[in-house]
């Protein structure tokens, strides 16, 4: 089996996972104790007629199998239902929030991966030294602090007490900034939420890269590299790091799920108008169709991102091309 077989297998697996997610999503929202509609619209102000109408809109008056067919059909058309807190289709509500989240996630990830891998590689390379102990302890601590707790601390310190950063949001309200000014304004707003995600993520990457590095440093081929009389930096770059990055790449995929958690927490604390904040809004308004939609989006993106990472892995690890 060659690279093609490897890709095919990964794509099939991803498709199966997506199908399973769709099913789970259907089941979760119907496994609730009691009448799903009652549960979904716990708001006592909703009248009986309104409830009936809702039942019909969501197809909840039909038998389960019929509901499932309707739900899948809707999904294929991109119909995720109606958000009743926004009074608009769920897909529309979510789509409008995606760019903000992407901006936050990509910024945070880029910084975290660069810094985390560099520090982790340094720590693993110098393993056993004081520097290593320091980096390790700092990372363990950073990695353990929940993003929302860190976010609140950052918010209190840098936005309230030393007011050098905004309190939240993505841009100064009613500012009418344009062009470069607007870009700066957004970046200024981006700092704290991104930082709160970056700090957790750096810890994660330091720990990952460090342990991969220590593992690689014990391998025979590193001794070979030394016996060639290569310069230290070259051994680090061409032999140690290149091999240590392989497991780091794989685990990046697995950890994307945690990145989603960081996004939800940071966006909530800093009122960043993205998909993560939408979760908080949906929870507080008991807007189940919206919650369901966001969950689907997150699950799909994690599966797709994992697929992409697997494919990258297949490209960078020569062993896969032959053995699969």
């Amino acid at each position: 089996m060659g690279l093609k077989g490897f890709i095919l297998r990964k794509v099939v697996a991803a498709c199966l996972t997506i199908i399973a997610i769709v099913c789970v999503n259907f089941v979760i929202f119907r496994m609730a104790p009691g009448d799903p509609v009652r549960m979904m619209f716990r708001d006592p102000r909703v009248s009986a007629e309104k409830l009936e109408e809702m039942k019909q809109t969501f197809g909840l008056d039909k038998p389960l199998s019929g509901q499932f067919v309707a739900y899948v059909k809707g999904l294929t058309r991109g119909d995720l239902g109606q958000s009743f807190s926004h009074r608009r289709p769920v897909l529309e509500v979510i789509a409008a929030k995606i760019p903000a989240t992407l901006l936050l996630v990509v910024t945070a990830l880029v910084f975290a991966i660069l810094l985390g891998v560099a520090l982790g590689a340094l720590s693993g390379w110098k393993s056993g030294t004081k520097l290593d102990t320091f980096i390790l302890t700092a990372s363990l601590t950073m990695y353990s602090i929940p993003t929302f707790a860190l976010g609140i601390i950052l918010l209190l310190v840098f936005a309230y007490h030393i007011a050098i950063f905004p309190l939240g949001g993505m841009a100064t309200p009613a500012s009418l900034f344009e062009g470069a000014e607007l870009v700066w304004d957004v970046l200024w707003h981006l700092c704290l939420p991104a930082l709160s995600i970056v700090i957790w993520y750096i810890g994660e990457y330091v720990l990952l890269t460090r342990s991969a590095m220590i593992d690689v440093m014990g391998q025979e081929y590193i001794t070979t590299a030394y016996s060639k009389g290569l310069k230290k930096f070259r051994i680090l770059k061409n032999h140690a790091l290149r091999n240590a990055l392989l497991p780091v790449v794989t685990i990046t995929g697995v950890n994307l799920g945690f990145a989603v958690a960081g996004v939800i927490e940071a966006e909530t604390v800093f009122s960043w108008p993205g998909v993560g904040r939408l979760v908080y809004d949906a929870v507080s308004h008991r807007d189940y169709p919206l919650l369901q939609g966001v969950f689907l989006l997150f699950a799909f993106s994690v599966v797709l991102a994992n697929l992409v990472i697997d494919l990258i892995y297949g490209y960078i690890d020569p062993r896969i091309k032959v053995s699969g």
Binding site: Q219, K228, R242
Partner: protein, 316 residues
């Protein structure tokens, strides 16, 4: 002058139970264009010796005494940069377990050229041509230059290791059990390849093995080590025909002869001593058939006799 002259080398491994004397006052020399075989049971310190010549002894191990003179300069006293420039260029090593000795994500070609480019001022193109030449030399088609290690068989990997080790025409080649773990036919092929290569490149080498028959056909001289000590050293034929030290005798007696004469193989009773608290006198005394009272009290000095260097009280 001998190419490599090891004088009273002492290496210890610091453990919680005490210092293990892995190599304890070993001296020998290797002349240019000659091959010295280093034999002994596993754990006798032969690999530690090899690592010491490359200055690869890492904590908890430490070179605590002695000199390793290479072309007259002491490897033990060199700084990191001096030893780095020596490694790969003047002294090269082929170790056992080639399976994991090659970088899995780098092509064989690059693993050879990176060595050449590090030590010599040549163009990439020239280095690549040299690498192809090296592959041919060890019996691998130069078409395989862009292959990755996992596409090679075990024997080919070991050949590739030899190609890397000899790429810069090293003055000294250390072969640390280069055929262990390979099947017999591949062992043969690699050995004859090595023998040809030695003649062609005028290599001086130290060949470490526990396999007496392999040593017999590759080495000019043989040194026998036991529990961190040199027991006997002599020319190969001489040692095999007239071993003087009881340990050498036992070792040779414990090995089947190639000629197939039916002979009862004798194993050596007992086990090597613990290197943390070795016996006071001769280290082999507890297992020796000819043990005398003096053996348990004083350590035998190395004596010269009929071209042998032997450490035994039996020798006058």
């Amino acid at each position: 002058m001998a190419l490599i002259d090891i004088q009273d080398l002492k290496i210890q491994f610091i453990t919680f139970r005490g210092a293990a004397k892995a190599v304890d006052g070993v001296s020998f020399q290797v002349e240019k264009n000659r091959t010295l075989g280093l034999i002994g049971e596993s754990g006798c310190g032969k690999t530690t010796m090899a690592m010491a010549i490359m200055r690869f002894v890492k904590p908890p191990g430490k070179i605590v005494g002695g000199k390793i003179l290479f072309n007259g300069s002491d490897i033990v006293a060199m700084n990191d940069e001096e030893i780095r420039q020596l490694r790969g260029k003047d002294i090269a090593i082929v170790r056992q377990e080639a399976q994991n000795a090659l970088n899995p994500v780098m092509t064989i070609g690059r693993q050879i050229t990176e060595l050449i480019l590090e030590h010599e001022a040549v163009t990439k193109k020239a280095a690549l041509a040299r690498a192809q030449n090296q592959l041919n030399l060890v019996g691998i088609s130069d078409k395989r230059i862009d292959s990755y290690p996992h596409e090679f068989s075990g024997g080919m990997k070991q050949r590739a290791m030899v190609a890397i080790a000899t790429a810069c025409n090293p003055k000294l080649l250390i072969l640390d059990e280069p055929t262990t773990g390979l099947d017999v036919i591949v062992q043969r092929q690699i050995l004859s390849m090595l023998n040809n290569l030695k003649k062609e490149l005028h290599l001086t080498s130290v060949f470490i093995s526990h396999d007496l028959s392999v040593v017999a056909e590759t080495c000019d001289r043989v040194a026998v080590m036991y529990a961190g000590k040199l027991m006997e050293e002599a020319d190969t034929v001489d040692l095999y025909q007239r071993p003087m030290h009881p340990y050498s005798q036992a070792l040779i007696g414990a090995y089947p002869t190639l000629k197939g004469e039916k002979q009862k193989l004798k194993s050596i009773p007992g086990a090597p001593p613990r290197l943390i608290d070795p016996p006071v006198g001769c280290r082999f005394a507890p297992r020796c058939q000819h043990v005398m009272a003096v053996c348990a009290e004083t350590e035998p000095e190395i004596k010269q006799k009929d071209g042998h260097r032997v450490a035994c009280h039996l020798i006058e």
